[in-house]
């Protein structure tokens, strides 16, 4: 009986939430949401609700951590106690520490740190609600927040996961798919340079499946990228008045002081994106 059922379900195989295999969850990104921060962004990716704030470039606080020849990017990923079930302790876990590290490594390739000797750029990410794929959603918000801070960037960094669930390769795993699936491959990507800046994987997959997942995740990242640009355009389009239609170049090299004309100005896209989950245990 389980056999028949399986065959049946294969015909009309559907994801738990009814999405197509390569369909992202709905994504909403808003930039400039924190008045005190130099740059900020809020993202909803599925039921993930995450806020990212950027402070800097500014003087490095414990001075011994500063570098004489370049700036230091510091990233802190942190989950609110009520963001998951059951409640978690607000103290940073080993998982948080590791995610903070890989997020820094994911974002740093997009920065010009050599321009900020002895300085720090601090990126703080708070997970208000977690729904699988928080590290990818966090990177998406952090990249927009960095751009919103007027910090020159080589490109935005977009992130999306792929994975295997019920034998199928799917994109942007939700919480359930992440926990019950066979594997999870979070990826961050800089489309302009065709570079993968975050890559992790956990599960059991053949080499071919692994490579396919990476490919699919990169496609997901490209969709997210369009939404990120939209979010920035929305805010800075408003500031510039109605000069909306043709977006000017706005090069990424702008100095941080002036109105942040990021490379953010680009076509718009409306894509729904989401993220894969992470292991929530310690």
């Amino acid at each position: 009986m389980s056999k028949t059922r399986k065959r049946k379900s294969n015909k009309t195989w559907e994801r738990v939430d009814g999405r197509k295999q390569d369909e992202l969850r709905p994504i909403h990104i808003e930039s400039g949401v924190l008045p005190n921060a130099d740059g900020s962004a809020y993202i909803e990716m599925g039921r993930n609700k995450i806020i990212a704030g950027v402070y800097g470039p500014r003087e490095m606080h414990p001075k011994r951590l500063s570098k004489p020849n370049e700036g230091v990017l510091r990233v802190r990923y942190h989950m609110a106690p009520f963001s998951v079930d059951p409640r978690r302790s607000p103290a940073p876990s080993r998982r948080d520490t590791e995610i903070s590290m890989v997020m820094r490594d994911a974002l740093e390739p997009a920065m010009f740190l050599e321009r900020y000797p002895r300085s720090a750029i601090d990126v703080y990410v708070e997970i208000i609600q977690a729904d699988g794929g928080t590290r990818c959603a966090s990177i998406n918000a952090a990249a927009v927040a960095l751009a919103d801070a007027g910090i020159p960037m080589k490109d935005l960094v977009a992130a999306c996961a792929a994975g295997k669930y019920d034998g199928k390769i799917i994109v942007d795993l939700g919480d359930y798919e992440d926990k019950k699936g066979e594997s999870d491959v979070p990826v961050a990507y800089m489309p302009k340079f065709d570079q993968v800046t975050l890559l992790q994987m956990e599960g059991i997959m053949t080499r071919e499946e692994t490579e396919e997942c990476i490919k699919q995740a990169v496609e997901g990242c490209k969709k997210v990228y369009e939404i990120q640009k939209e979010a920035l355009k929305k805010k800075y389009g408003m500031i510039q008045g109605e000069a909306a239609a043709p977006e000017p170049e706005a090069e990424a090299e702008a100095e941080p002081e002036e109105a942040p004309a990021e490379e953010t100005q680009k076509p718009e896209g409306h894509v729904d994106v989401d993220e894969p989950e992470e292991e929530e245990k310690q």
């Binding site: 020849n69 370049e70 520490t97 800089m190 994987m201 956990e202 692994t210």
Partner: protein, 266 residues
């Protein structure tokens, strides 16, 4: 990466040599240093392994104990991997809380073992929802000369592969220790291989000097069926998808090589 004048000079020299297809110590680009693996040399640990990879020296101990299960898996035992950067291992390592690198090391080794389902955790349940057997794998770094992830991953597998865990007896919800031991059964044998990128070249088994100047690295853990169990990219650079494939190729070849050495150490 290169943060001071010494490491810049180092980088220059290492770059020059690597372009000729060799390394500073004469190795080929995808050649490991000599592995020396010894198992079962500690009486008080239930499983142990000592791994020397060139001058990198780590000891792995496996111990078991009784603990409480996670809420969402009341009948499953708990495996914990912890890494210790001891201050004897390097002049710049100090006593104190573990640095971020140690946490990453433990988590990457842990992820490989866990994802490959090396242990069937259901066998370690004792009293549902209350007591389970814990398996602790402690990675102890005694001398640091690069490539800790691969050394510790091989060491963890070697120690677990030869571990004789003590048996527990359950009597009306009371758990007592017995004198009997049982060989720890492994369902898979994952091995981590770390491929470092320096300039446009890819090398395995980077030394401390090479790690200091490398651009980034990708660690790939594969089991004996050549399935991928875990990947971890780190370092402030990006990789193209083709470069990642290349790293997976190198890793799959090297993992088999290392695994046979680990199994031979039993």
């Amino acid at each position: 990466m290169s943060n001071n004048i010494v490491s810049r000079l180092k980088r220059k020299k290492i770059d020059e040599v690597i372009k000729t297809g060799k390394r500073m110590d004469g190795r080929g680009l995808t050649q490991y240093r000599d592995w020396q693996i010894r198992t079962g040399f500690l009486e008080k640990a239930e499983g142990s392994a000592e791994v020397k990879l060139g001058k990198t020296h780590v000891v792995v101990g496996v111990k078991s104990g009784i603990g409480t299960p996670f809420e969402d898996s009341p009948d499953e035992g708990v495996m914990m991997v912890n890494a210790e950067y001891t201050p004897v291992a390097h002049p710049t390592w100090e006593p104190g809380p573990p640095p971020d690198e140690a946490i990453e090391l433990a988590r990457v080794v842990d992820r490989g073992l866990r994802a490959a389902e090396v242990l069937s955790m259901e066998e370690f349940g004792l009293v549902s929802g209350e007591k389970v057997q814990m398996v602790f794998v402690d990675l102890y770094v005694l001398n640091f000369d690069g490539n800790l992830i691969d050394a510790c991953s091989a060491g963890a597998l070697a120690a677990m592969n030869t571990a004789q865990l003590r048996e527990f007896k359950v009597n009306k919800g009371e758990v007592t220790t017995t004198d009997k031991t049982k060989k720890l059964k492994l369902r898979a044998h994952p091995i981590a291989v770390t491929v470092a990128k320096i300039g446009s070249e890819f090398i395995v088994d980077a030394t401390a000097d090479e790690e200091e100047v490398m651009d980034g690295r990708i660690t790939i853990t594969l089991d004996e069926n050549n399935n991928v169990n875990a990947i971890q990219k780190s370092g402030p650079i990006g990789f193209t998808v083709d470069e990642i494939k290349k790293c997976i190729n190198i890793a799959s070849e090297k993992a088999a090589e290392i695994r046979s050495k680990v199994m031979a150490s039993a």
